[in-house]
């Protein structure tokens, strides 16, 4: 099995590499254990455990899938099925700042595509790509539930509402 680089487009098809196994640090493990108390089945803790793992490791690598599968007694293939179903779990590393531009209808008709295009052009990226320095990833996303303040750009966990090409342009410069 060839080793693919994490940023390879085929990274998600990579098999787990047993020499690169991962583990939660003690405080994250404590959070994980606390999660299990909240559900009647272990499996039900998978979504929150994946969120936790993404916070810890930055993305959900095949090794993370195997690790969580072992902890929760779920087949790694099933974990992969879940990871690939949901938009928010990164199957490859993303930049330190994940710029997510909503282009759904209410944002679109308030010029969201101009913002999206500006982000891509300014950084020289294709959709979903990360800058070479690992700083910024730009993706297009669906309605963020904030259409009253459209257009909306989500950067990591924060919403930037009533955005404009100018405001996002400036913001991109400040993302270190």
């Amino acid at each position: 099995m060839a080793h693919l680089q994490p940023d390879s487009p085929y990274a998600t098809e990579r098999y787990a590499d047993t020499t690169r196994s991962v583990e939660f640090k003690p405080d994250a493990k404590a959070k994980f254990d606390a999660l299990l108390e909240r559900y009647p089945t272990k499996e039900a803790a998978l979504l929150p455990a994946l969120h936790l793992a993404q916070e810890e490791f930055g993305w959900i690598s095949p090794e993370v899938m195997v690790y969580l599968g072992t902890l929760l007694e779920i087949e790694p293939a099933k974990v992969f099925g879940v990871v690939s179903f949901y938009n928010m779990y990164n199957q490859k590393p993303v930049g330190k700042h994940h710029v997510q531009v909503c282009t759904n209808l209410s944002c679109m008709i308030r010029n969201a595509y101009d913002i999206y295009d500006r982000c891509l052009e300014k950084l020289g990226l294709q959709p979903g790509e990360t800058t070479k320095d690992g700083r910024i990833t730009v993706t297009e996303v669906e309605c963020l539930g904030s259409c009253g303040t459209a257009p909306v750009v989500q950067i990591n966990n924060d919403y930037h509402e009533n955005a404009s090409v100018e405001s996002i342009d400036k913001l991109l410069d400040t993302l270190k």
Partner: protein, 436 residues
């Protein structure tokens, strides 16, 4: 009609999310009152209020609660649907971020009424990170005051609430998708029946209710069913949050009694159309609702009136488009959404939504074929009612209505390979379409 401040009475207060602010405004008094009644009395009260669910389908809440099997040995679950993923909808977020204790109080009372097991879940969309953190904090405050936990206020009733974050999937707003997602699975809806009230989460009888629905419950307990019915029209009762977005001068969340006139809402309360252009189309109930034309909007915004008008009230997410909008492009954008969000389980929806997106895109790019308008219309007939869950029907709402009501514009686009003069496309065709 004047705006009201009933559900939103706390949201403008400083520090509105804090439990002390909530209690100072009379909060948690309804819980005390409810715990002195029997669960069945609360169910009856909600039935009497004629409240219909605010999540989209408008199902009478009390009746839903009444469907729980009386003799099942299984525990019962109450799930709060805070997925808020219907395009054009942003009302639950106001309650979650500005008045989380209203929702929590509503959940405790509702859980008591349906004789829930000691754990309840709020399924909140993953993107609402801020809202989830506010809820987590509010739940801690409520535990510290004894409103959650064992033997709540000496009533013998136990309940705790867990915030469960979704991870970016519209279909998890559908109640069966939501249930699958809480269990740790892909959010692929199960076939109904059995309905969640009989077999829901963890194999148990389950009630799924929307944030706004549950937030109405403390108000009903406090003021009574008759008071609730004094807002709105028969069978369409209560205060209601309306989300207005798109081409209006003052977009936002507005609270009115059920049944505010749509035209009045757009032109008087939202300041009219941007750039003072003529109105072109309105989606009245979230992205799945069929579009209305300007001559169709003089109607009360409630479940029955919109159903009669051939569309739906849905989540009361009103998306307004002015005359500059290319309707083919707008319809394409909704189709792209549904194609992306189809869970992939059943063929009519998985294939059909993708084909609708492809055809709309080719019309927009000047490659439309003369038969495409009919083809699109025909497709909606082959998806609608034939998919496993309501996402298939949802995807057809905008397409069927746009093709029917703006047929001339579609034909113009196909024939001239460009937008109708005076309308514009909001994207550049030379840019790659996002892989997300």
């Amino acid at each position: 009609m004047e705006p009201i401040k009933v559900l939103t009475k706390n949201v403008d207060k400083p520090n509105s999310a804090a439990i002390d602010t909530y209690i100072a405004g009379g909060g948690y008094e309804s819980l005390k009152k409810a715990l002195k009644s029997t669960p069945d009395e609360i169910v009856q009260l909600v039935k009497d209020s004629e409240m219909r669910g605010r999540g989209g389908a408008g199902f009478p809440t009390g009746m839903k609660w009444g469907f729980l099997p009386k003799d099942s040995p299984m525990p019962r679950y109450l799930l709060c649907n805070a997925d808020e993923s219907e395009p054009g909808t942003f009302k639950d977020r106001v309650i979650i971020e500005k008045d989380p204790h209203l929702l929590i109080e509503g959940m405790i009372i509702s859980a008591y009424a349906i004789k829930s097991c000691p754990m309840s879940y709020i399924y909140i969309r993953g993107e609402f990170y801020k809202g989830a953190m506010i809820l987590v904090k509010a739940l801690e405050e409520a535990r510290a005051k004894g409103f959650l936990g064992k033997n709540i206020l000496g009533s013998g009733f136990d309940l705790d609430i867990t915030v469960h974050r979704g991870a970016g999937a519209y279909i998890c707003g559908e109640e069966m998708g939501l249930i699958e997602s809480i269990e740790g699975h892909r959010g692929q809806p199960r076939v109904k029946p059995p309905f969640p009230a009989v077999v829901g989460v963890f194999g148990s009888p389950t009630i799924v209710n929307n944030v706004e629905t549950l937030s109405c419950v403390p108000l009903i307990v406090e003021h009574g069913a008759e008071w609730f019915k004094s807002f709105g029209q028969p069978k369409n009762t209560g205060p209601k949050l309306y989300c207005v977005s798109g081409h209006v001068k003052k977009p936002g969340v507005y609270e009115f009694p059920m049944g505010v006139n749509l035209k009045e809402l757009i032109y008087e309360h939202c300041g009219g159309i941007t750039d003072d252009l003529p109105l072109k189309a309105v989606i009245p109930g979230g992205g799945s609702a069929p579009m209305l034309t300007p001559d169709e909007i003089d109607l009360p915004m409630n479940f029955d009136a919109l159903m009669k008008a051939g569309t739906m009230f849905g989540s009361a997410g009103i998306i307004v488009m002015n005359s500059s909008t290319c309707i083919v492009d707008a319809t394409w954008r909704m189709s792209k959404f549904f194609a992306h969000e189809s869970c992939g389980q059943c063929t009519p929806c998985r294939e059909g939504t993708n084909w609708m997106e492809t055809i709309l895109d080719r019309i927009e790019r000047g490659g439309g074929r003369p038969q495409d308008a009919d083809l699109l219309f025909d497709m909606t007939d082959n998806i609608g009612g034939k998919s496993l869950c309501a996402l298939g029907d949802a995807a057809c709402g905008p397409v069927a209505s746009a093709v029917k009501k703006f047929r001339d514009e579609f034909m113009y686009h196909i024939e001239h390979k460009s937008c109708l003069p005076g309308t514009k496309r909001y994207r550049r065709l030379d840019m790659p379409v996002g892989a997300h």
